[in-house]
């Protein structure tokens, strides 16, 4: 099916992307609870790390996870690469504003900018830390998928309501995006002349109103559907089945704890 407008194509692609990320490339690869716990440990360690050792170790480990699970390396690599470019843009002023020994200078007519060695070091550390944090999270999100990540969070005993909300979001965001595409198509099918850019926004605003109403209506019915099958006073009954830890899970947890200890040791 060829969709008409760019907006429709964008919304459809977004729904498609969220849907495909719901189920990972290898969802049974590892116990989701251990995976989420390890990701939290590793992301935290890299965020508070000094120097390059920890972030580089974590980036290497993320690549290993992708390779071991036969996940699409090129698709995954785009995200850390995009983040590295974004972080590099954000950190541009750092070398020039950090006090220290000047190592390079940039002359802009009347102004001369001097980059310090300490500043460059801080900037590079910032970029590697950001990339490492993104790499480890996205590698596990790719392998396990959003559904398993939520299951992992439930395994860590997050509030049941939060687990339910996250699951609902996973299910309903793509549904509503597709609903928006249908509504847009219905409106555009009644436009007798070429739509100008300004009109696209007007049409979109009417879709947003309708979408809000429909989402309210859907949430009302969903609440009834959940209640209809809830036999306890606490209405919500979302239980996470207990899962057995395998050798891979133990290895992952040990590695994460080693990195944490190393981080604390290097930080000190």
């Amino acid at each position: 099916m060829k969709l008409k407008s760019l907006t429709e194509r964008f919304l459809e692609s977004l729904a498609e992307a969220i849907d495909s990320l719901n189920i990972g490339s290898n969802p049974t690869f590892i116990n989701p609870t251990i995976a989420v716990l390890s990701v939290l440990i590793l992301t935290g360690t890299t965020a508070f790390s000094h120097g390059f050792t920890i972030p580089i170790l974590i980036i290497a480990f993320s690549i290993l996870v992708i390779l071991l699970t036969d996940s699409p390396m090129r698709t995954w690599a785009k995200i850390p690469l995009l983040v590295s470019v974004w972080a590099a843009i954000v950190m541009v002023p750092l070398p020039f504003i950090t006090p220290g020994e000047p190592v390079a200078s940039l002359s802009l007519g009347l102004i001369e900018l001097r980059a310090s060695g300490e500043g460059l070091n801080t900037a590079l550390t910032f970029v590697t830390r950001a990339v490492a944090a993104v790499a480890i999270f996205t590698s596990f999100a790719f392998v396990l998928g959003w559904r398993e990540i939520v299951r992992g969070l439930q395994g860590l005993r997050i509030p049941q309501e939060l687990g339910l909300l996250l699951n609902m979001a996973i299910i309903h965001i793509p549904l509503f995006l597709r609903e928006a595409v249908k509504m847009l198509s219905a409106r555009e099918s009644r436009m007798m002349r070429k739509i100008r850019f300004k009109e696209v926004w007007r049409i979109l605003s009417t879709v947003v109103g309708d979408l809000l109403l429909r989402s309210y209506e859907r949430s009302w019915v969903l609440e009834k559907a959940i209640k209809a099958r809830s036999f306890r006073a606490t209405e919500l009954s979302w239980e996470t089945p207990s899962e057995v830890m395998g050798i891979k899970d133990l290895l992952l947890l040990s590695f994460s704890l080693c990195i944490l200890v190393l981080g604390v040791f290097l930080g000190a």
């Binding site: 849907d19 719901n22 189920i23 559904r147 939520v150 299951r151 699951n167 609902m168 996973i170 299910i171 793509p174 549904l175 859907r218 019915v221 969903l222 009834k224 559907a225 959940i226 209640k227 209809a228 099958r229 809830s230 036999f231 306890r232 006073a233 209405e235 009954s237 239980e239 089945p241 207990s242």
Partner: protein
Amino acid sequence: MADRGEVVSIIGRNGSGKTTLLLIAAGLLEPQRGIVLLEEKPLKEQLPEARRMIGLIFQDPNDQLFNPTVYDEIAFALRQLLSSEAEVEKEVKQIAEKFHLGDLLSRPPYRLSIGEKRRVTLASVLAYDPDIVLFDEPTANLSAKSAEEIEQIVENARDAGKAVVVASHDVEFVANVSSRVYVLNEGSMLGGSSAKSILSDESLLALADMKPPLLSQALSLLKLRLKENPLTIRDLAEATSVTQYDDQ
């Protein structure tokens, strides 16, 4: 309103209050007037435990499915009733086989076809074996084959001694499964009697935006009048076999 081992249908035009009536009967909405009785006691006083006895199948399966996988959808109620996950798994697998959902257990329900979604909603409700089953437009948007499957499920539920209430626009379906029919209009009950008498009353059906079953229309066009006034092919087969027997 409905006894065990009986199928009662509610018909009425759009907005007549059929869905609202089912939500009230399931204890999900409170009536403005009157009370709902379950086994001669007010339903409100027995909630939420009494929901164990009532199963509601919504008109749009998308409204009813809220779990990440088909397995979780069927297990949702069972996890509240059974003590171990092993028991839940056993029950889920049994019910999945019954509804031909065995291969779909790990799939997200919202990615299934409408017929499959309908089967998941039925499995998720019938899994906890409620005594009363409420169907809201069970054949809406379904193919003829899927509608036939639903008919079989409704009949099985009735034969298993459950009280079944169906709100539907599908006159053929209502004729096939119901023993009693009620007509609802703007929140008021216009009439209620045996399926045969209600579904033959053209003026009452017109109020519900419905026409008599095709067979009745065909017999009336052909100016044929049979003793039993058959509404379905099954009725006609029975009526004609009696006639042949008499001829002999």
